[in-house]
């Protein structure tokens, strides 16, 4: 059965899009049919990591939400350029980066019912094994929807107090929405911190498993938002960590 994986963080700047791109790629590389939907309509960005230019994306998630196209028509096959071989597939449904479109989203919001139907249509039309949802940070009606429909919700946090607190709030909401499975990913972990002790502490605090710990890595920063790290450096420890999490997701 297809699985929906939402990636969320309470605050911005946690590396959510980067994490989503790498994890989804790692899952696709294991031979699954995968799509990513960028629901961060107010501040889209994940398309950059896949080298998808705005000129190439005539149709976007916005087109679907405004009834100008079907959602599958706004899905772009990005697997080939990343070297993902059969039977693996990777699609991206990007959000519009046009200022007018973003303004319209900020002003009017969008119909969460339509978004819900869109996710389901996409899974059927592209015969997906996995649907990854990259969310907008914070809590809103729109992120509530992504949380509610997830089979797996991955919460990304950095080891700092503000993220700890925000993550606790998000988890309360997720439990209210009867989320089936939650995983935590700790990103930008300073080299001075002991990862095992950190993992133990976070798991004790939230009573949910930590699926991966990612260092504050200059290598990743260097590549910044220009490529998918685990494609470019498959043997790097960070890529190995992504593969580990991907394994966990596939088996969940």
């Amino acid at each position: 059965m297809p699985k929906v994986v939402s990636i969320h963080s309470y605050r911005g700047g946690t590396g959510k899009s980067n994490f989503t791109a790498n994890l989804a790629t790692a899952v696709a590389m294991q031979g699954h049919r995968v799509a990513i939907v960028d629901t961060d309509l107010p501040s889209p960005g994940i398309h950059n990591l896949f080298g998808l230019e705005p000129e190439q994306t005539g149709k976007t998630l916005n087109s679907y939400l405004w009834s100008e196209s079907s959602i599958e028509d706004a899905a772009y096959d990005i697997g080939d350029s990343l070297g993902i071989g059969e039977p693996g597939k990777l699609f991206l449904v990007p959000s519009s980066v046009k200022a007018d479109d973003i303004a319209r989203i900020l002003k009017d919001g969008y119909d969460v019912r339509l978004m819900n139907d869109g996710f389901r249509n996409l899974v059927k039309a592209l015969q997906l094994d996995f649907l990854f949802i990259d969310t907008h940070p914070g809590l809103s009606k729109e992120t509530f929807l992504s949380i509610a429909i997830s089979h797996v919700l991955i919460l990304i946090l950095r080891p700092d107090k503000q993220d700890y607190q925000g993550t606790a709030v998000t988890m309360d909401v997720a439990r209210q929405l009867n989320v089936r499975k939650m995983l935590l990913a700790i990103n930008k972990v300073h080299s001075k911190l002991n990862p095992d002790a950190l993992k133990q502490k976070v798991e004790e605090t939230y009573r949910e498993p930590v699926a991966g710990i990612f260092p504050l890595s200059e290598d990743v920063v260097q590549l910044a938002s220009e490529g998918v790290f685990c494609v470019q450096f498959p043997d790097h420890p960070v890529s190995q960590e992504f593969i580990k999490v991907a394994q966990r997701i596939s088996e969940a």
């Binding site: 389901r120 509530f144 929807l145 509610a148 909401v173 209210q176 929405l177």
Partner: protein, 343 residues
């Protein structure tokens, strides 16, 4: 973050979007939106403006969850659906004995606009035919027409949880062309069944038919009755609990015009339809259904609305007298569980 204070209502609105029950309603909507049988009412030009493709389905449960699919915000005139609820208000104003002395509760099998009164008592047959509805409107208390209209609009607000207006062009057209209703009112005046303030009462009757509602309002009207007269979302009482049974039973026997018998047999949900394209239907203790599609059959009932109610009744066992295990368990489909997680 401040709106997270109302976490409960936000989570419940999201659950209503993701629930398998809403998915079921979406599929019903898909299934029946292609049916284009029937015709839009055109006895006054304003009604003929309705678009045939408009189609909304809304269900409100007695727990206060609301499921919406399609055109649930589109406003239309309530028309005859008002009759059931104004009957409730008349009961509150005068009590059962007095109201029954003016209007009987016997199904006619005649069309909604028939000019027939009981030959012995001179009463109109029931509050759902036009004659009975006019006699019922006559009973609504208030010092003048404005006050009576206000009381009526306030009543609708208690049921739906929002303010209502009337569509003035529809009201004026109905008033200008309602010769038959005017004739019925005078016939009843002749028998002493209505008071002499005929013009004011007819205005009130035309106004009650011109109240603007949407499919969600229709679901809340019946969900409130299903919940014993208390709006399940606002928790406000809309109808004295003593009269809930009166309103629901008249809807069961007379609500679907001269199609009421077959409806009670096949669907088994007390319901009321209007020529604006609305139907409101009740599964007591469980839920209320509101449908809107302006394509009407020859009896004046919404074609798609009937089909939606038939399917819901069959699939979830909502027929009043059903004892067989239905195909779908309502609670399970509303709450959702892993077995229904059809991706």
């Amino acid at each position: 973050m401040s709106d997270i204070g109302d976490l409960q209502s936000l989570t419940s609105s999201i659950t209503a979007v993701t629930s398998p029950f809403r998915r079921y309603l979406s599929e019903l909507h898909e299934k029946y939106k292609v049916i284009n049988d029937g015709a839009v009412a055109d006895y006054i030009p304003e009604l003929a403006l309705a678009k045939p493709e408009w189609f909304g389905i809304c269900v409100g449960t007695s727990e206060g969850q609301v499921f919406e699919v399609g055109d649930c915000d589109q406003l239309f005139t309530i028309q005859s659906i008002s009759k059931a609820f104004v009957f409730g208000l008349a009961l509150e104003d005068h009590g059962r004995e007095y109201v029954n002395s003016k209007v009987s509760v016997e199904p006619t099998g005649e069309a909604f606009n028939s000019i027939v009164l009981d030959e012995v008592t001179n009463r109109p047959y029931n509050p759902m035919v036009n004659a009975g509805a006019i006699a019922t409107a006559d009973l609504i208390k208030g010092d003048n027409g404005t006050q009576r209209l206000k009381r009526m609009l306030e009543m609708f607000k208690r049921y739906t949880g929002r303010e209502h207006d009337i569509n003035v062009p529809v009201f004026l057209s109905e008033k200008a062309t309602g010769y038959r209703n005017r004739a019925m009112a005078y016939l009843m005046l002749n028998f002493g069944m209505v008071s002499e303030k005929i013009d004011e009462t007819l205005d009130l009757y035309f106004q009650q038919c011109s109240v603007l509602v949407n499919a969600r309002d229709l679901a809340m009207l019946s969900a409130t009755l299903a919940n014993g007269g208390v709006n399940p979302v606002t928790q406000e009482r809309a109808l004295d609990e003593r009269y809930v049974q009166d309103v629901i039973s008249v809807m069961l026997t007379c609500g679907m015009y001269d199609g009421s018998g077959a409806w009670a047999y096949r669907v088994g949900m007390p319901a009321k339809s209007g020529v604006g394209g609305g139907i409101t239907a009740i599964a007591p203790g469980k839920l209320g259904i509101g449908t809107f599609s302006p394509l009407l059959d020859a009896k004046g009932n919404s074609v798609r609305g009937i089909k939606v109610c038939e399917d819901l009744s069959r699939d979830f066992g909502l027929h009043l007298f059903n004892v067989a295990t239905p195909e779908h368990n309502l609670q399970q489909w509303i709450d959702g569980d892993a077995s229904l997680d059809d991706w």
